[in-house]
């Protein structure tokens, strides 16, 4: 029989682990988003080495496992003399990971249909930065916001791996509880449920605030 009582005794610990997971992923989400906004436009507008560098970054991240990226940043960088706390390394790895996936998604949104408004804005005398941030980016984001949110949730779920460099996240809390209670299966069922419900709640919550972020979609007939 499954016995959850022993596991519930550690609920404070699990919740604090969950909080760590959420905070790290939230920060990484913002950092990755900022990075992606920059990279997506860089790749589109600056041909040559800058664009190649963005491609190399995006392809490297997308074609290697997150855990290897994490180990490379935490252990590899330290061996070069750039020592980071586990939390900092996790934050850097999660941000770089999010940045690469977000770059591709945002580029998809920028691709079609932005030429005309870009030209109109340039013809009005706006600077390229104004054109991008004020005119081209908002409608592009509105087109790809759901994939972006989906990807963010995937990154949150994938963040379970940061327990492997001893960040005290939800998974690492689970591993601790499991060794104390000998109730591994129950612990992981509970923790899985926590991951699932946070991920789903985030998607649902986003669905509710979506129209506040993009008010012009309100009356758009599909």
């Amino acid at each position: 029989m499954l016995m959850f009582r022993d596991v519930f005794a550690y609920s404070d610990m699990l919740l604090s682990g969950l909080l760590t997971s959420i905070v790290l992923c939230g920060l990484a989400g913002f950092a990755g988003f900022a990075l992606a906004i920059f990279c997506a436009e860089l790749k589109r507008t600056v041909p040559g080495p800058a664009s190649w560098a963005v491609s190399a970054y995006v392809e490297t991240i997308r074609n290697t496992p997150f855990i290897v990226q994490l180990f490379f940043i935490y252990f590899g960088m330290a061996s070069l003399g750039w020592r980071m706390s586990p939390q900092a390394a996790a934050l850097v790895a999660l941000s770089l990971n999010a940045g690469a996936y977000f770059t591709e998604i945002i580029r998809g949104g920028l691709m079609d249909g932005s030429r005309g408004i870009r030209e109109a804005a340039l013809a009005q005398g706006m600077t390229p930065l104004q054109v991008y941030l004020r005119i081209v980016l908002p409608p592009a984001l509105a087109k790809v916001d759901k994939p972006l949110v989906g990807q963010f949730v995937l990154i949150f779920l994938g963040s379970a791996v940061i327990s492997q460099i001893s960040v005290e996240d939800l998974t690492s809390a689970a591993q601790f509880v499991q060794t104390r209670t000998f109730r591994a299966f129950e612990t992981y069922i509970l923790v899985t449920a926590m991951y699932v419900s946070v991920g789903l709640s985030f998607s649902l919550a986003y669905g509710r605030i979506r129209l506040a972020l993009f008010p012009w979609l309100r009356e758009l007939r599909q």
């Binding site: 392809e59 074609n63 290897v68 061996s79 998974t171 069922i189 923790v191 789903l200």
Partner: protein, 216 residues
């Protein structure tokens, strides 16, 4: 103090490459078989079966893959199954793959226009024949880029098997790192190996996708 030269490290890691490939293949083929069955189940027209399949897919896709692996690793023994890391990882990865492929393939079947079914049935073809001769070939074309692209996700996902103790290249890396402490070299090599496997697949998937979009 360590007997590992640079070349020793490289060859040890490459020596474990077959296990990464092997696990990827198990996951992909196993997942494809399960996904075929589930997809077939949903073409039979039972609402209940359809809803159940959707539920299972949604559940698997909304949980961390690592948790799925832990649940297999610690849950299967409760069913009196003797669990090796390879078995636990395989089961979890097959479930993960099956969920994605079922979703992709179902969507591909739905993307074939309703009129194709109607035209074939109107000409007197049976349900099964219509599916096999008319609808499937079109659905396969739609599903191919996504399926090929997912292979990259599978190869990357096998790295998580290292956490439950399966000795593939990432596991080899963590072990070697503990012995030699040359993490920069070790994880760069491992990253490069994953790139070498995945980049060609990614490029192929993108090409297939572009060809598909042009033809439509």
């Amino acid at each position: 103090m360590s007997q590992f030269t640079t070349w020793g490290i490289v060859s040890t890691i490459i020596g474990k490459l077959p296990w990464t490939l092997c696990l990827s293949l198990i996951a992909f083929l196993g997942g494809a078989v399960v996904a075929s069955l589930l997809t077939l189940l949903t073409t039979l027209g039972s609402r209940l079966a359809d809803a159940c399949v959707s539920m299972v897919i949604a559940t698997i896709q909304s949980m961390p893959l690592l948790m799925l692996m832990f649940l297999c690793f610690f849950g299967l023994p409760l069913l009196q199954v003797n669990v090796s890391p390879l078995l636990a990882a395989s089961v979890a990865l097959i479930a993960f793959t099956a969920a994605f492929l079922t979703e992709t393939w179902r969507a591909a079947l739905k993307a074939v226009p309703r009129g194709q079914w109607e035209a074939a049935m109107a000409s007197g073809m049976k349900h099964g024949d219509t599916l096999r001769v008319i609808v499937l070939p079109q659905a396969v074309r739609i599903a191919t880029p996504g399926t090929v692209g997912f292979l990259v996700q599978v190869v990357k996902a096998t790295a998580l098997a290292s956490i439950v103790g399966f000795m593939e290249i990432t596991r080899a890396g963590t072990v070697l790192n503990n012995i030699t402490y040359r993490p920069f070299l070790i994880f760069a090599i491992i990253g490069a190996l994953y790139m070498a496997i995945n980049l060609p697949i990614s490029l192929l998937a993108r090409r297939l996708e572009r060809r598909f979009t042009f033809n439509n």
